[in-house]
Symmetry: C2
Subunit: 314 residues, 2 copies
């Protein structure tokens, strides 16, 4: 990564020009950085920011210059200025700082999208959330409890992550290095299994996830941290359990999709951030000059919750 | 299979007593018959009948005694009398005989459920229907064309089945013994792929189905005629293509589910049977005394469309 001087980006119709205060670090940033086929001019990384509206070229009149907003951008978030489609901007509640607010968009929208739009989580259902200490994991645990009173099972490999998941409301925390999650789930649920699985792991948990799934359950595949090559997989239980297995990635979705998701999320969830029932989870705040350190932390899976880059002072 | 004399079944509240005219043969019948763990008293096979309402113990007053109906029953269809939940009864249009009408419920409801409730087929989308000569395949081709103006790709292993699929409206017919369907689909669609796959085949087509699927497509797994053990399957494309893979079986679904499905199907499809745009597809009509022959035909995959057992004269 190199830091360069560039002109302010020019907002198009429907966009905001944002003076960036903070940017979130996401897996897609580290993957883009490592992409060997990238050529000059290198892109500006960063898909999520918080900041202050400087210009509003959209018809959403309440987003006046000076408004504090957070949201997803298509690229270029690691910068002092960025453009953002106005229909993705979340107005930041007074109770949150910009550094806190930038920890919301990517992980909470991903958790919301995968749990509700794909996982179709219903009130008081059971959900298995893998990687309970990750950004999306900590967001998903909170949403599942606060919006749906779900019974939450979560896995992680470190006891401090599991303790934290418990604080966020997880009902059953499982150390995957010491315990078999599918065995615990089947014991706790009398063999019924869970209704929704948020799977960041992929291949290495394949059969165990199948064994944990209830009849008519939804299994959402969001990551392949445990590899992507499954061998000797029997599809009989996909039919027998009437399973829905849904793969997804958020970043390449259309602008219209992200706008709709953002609006629904704002309506259902922002009031809960205002009253403190939902909380952004922050692992570290790193100055702009130390962006390499921020990426290192993510690549080493050190974090519980988000790694934030502070771009300019609030 | 043996034929025995039994008392008429007693309808419960919400049920009809039906004097059976014809019963459809289904894969679940042959599988139940072959089940080595079955013990006496053996069940009466048969999950779909047409016949005349003899008693109505439900609140659906239009199903008066004498009404001609067809529909799914929970078991016991290969008999002179059977009980049927009244909310599963389809009133038979005058244009159809009872032998024709009994060819509708299982295959058309399965095709409807898998294409619309699970596959979420939208108007003018592309669909790949495997086993285009099967009961569900011939129903699915018709529904996809008549209800959704879909672009239909279908596969079969015999040219007479493919010719018939073409007559029913299939746009692209592919002999899987001579051609690679994924290659043809990618050529015809300029690499885009199909939006929905109805998959009766399972393991042996696994990678080919993945290669045929469009971004955001829905792949409905209804059968494993090609085996159920997949080896070396890469899940990356499930995420990259944002695929939904949905397993299903209709028979064990709840009564409420079948009732809702039946009512929606009646509303959307029965008018098209009345005016002849949808047609039951019948392979053979076998007398009750030759039920073994009916099962043999199904086990040998001889049929294009339904095998019907004539129980009593109309």
């Amino acid at each position: 990564m190199i830091m360069i001087e560039k002109e302010k980006p020019l907002p198009e119709k429907g966009e905001l020009l944002i003076k960036v205060k903070a940017a979130g670090v996401n897996r897609t940033d580290t993957l883009t950085r490592q992409n060997p086929s990238l050529e000059k001019p290198y892109p500006i990384l960063g898909i999520e920011v918080s900041g202050i509206v400087e210009e509003n070229h959209s018809s959403i009149s309440r987003l006046k210059p000076g408004t504090r907003v957070a949201g997803l951008v298509n690229h270029g978030g690691y910068a002092e200025y960025v453009t953002m489609p106005a229909d993705r901007a979340m107005v930041i509640p007074e109770s949150l700082t910009m550094t806190e607010a930038v920890a919301i968009p990517e992980v909470f929208l991903t958790a919301y999208q995968t749990m509700y739009w794909l996982g179709e989580l219903k009130n008081k259902e059971r959900i298995l959330i893998h990687a309970g200490g990750s950004g999306v994991g900590t967001a998903a645990i909170q949403l599942a409890k606060q919006l749906s009173e779900a019974e939450v099972f979560t896995t992680a490999g470190q006891s401090k992550k599991l303790d934290f998941a418990k604080e966020l409301g997880a009902d059953h925390v499982i150390n995957y290095k010491k315990e078999n999650f599918e065995k615990i789930i089947n014991e706790v649920t009398d063999g019924t299994g869970v209704d929704v699985i948020l799977d960041f792991v992929g291949a290495s948990y394949w059969e165990k996830n199948l064994a944990s799934a209830a009849i008519d359950s939804r299994w959402v595949l969001i990551g392949t941290l445990g590899g992507s090559e499954v061998d000797d997989f029997s599809i009989g239980s996909i039919m027998g359990k009437r399973l829905s297995l849904k793969g997804t990635v958020l970043t390449p979705r259309s602008d219209a999709y992200k706008a709709k998701l953002t609006q629904e999320f704002i309506d259902r969830s922002m009031p809960l951030f205002e009253d403190g029932r939902l909380k952004p989870v922050i692992h570290s705040v790193v100055p702009f000059s130390e962006v390499k350190e921020a990426h290192r932390q993510m690549e080493d899976n050190e974090n519980i919750g988000k790694i934030i880059i502070k771009i300019t002072e609030e």
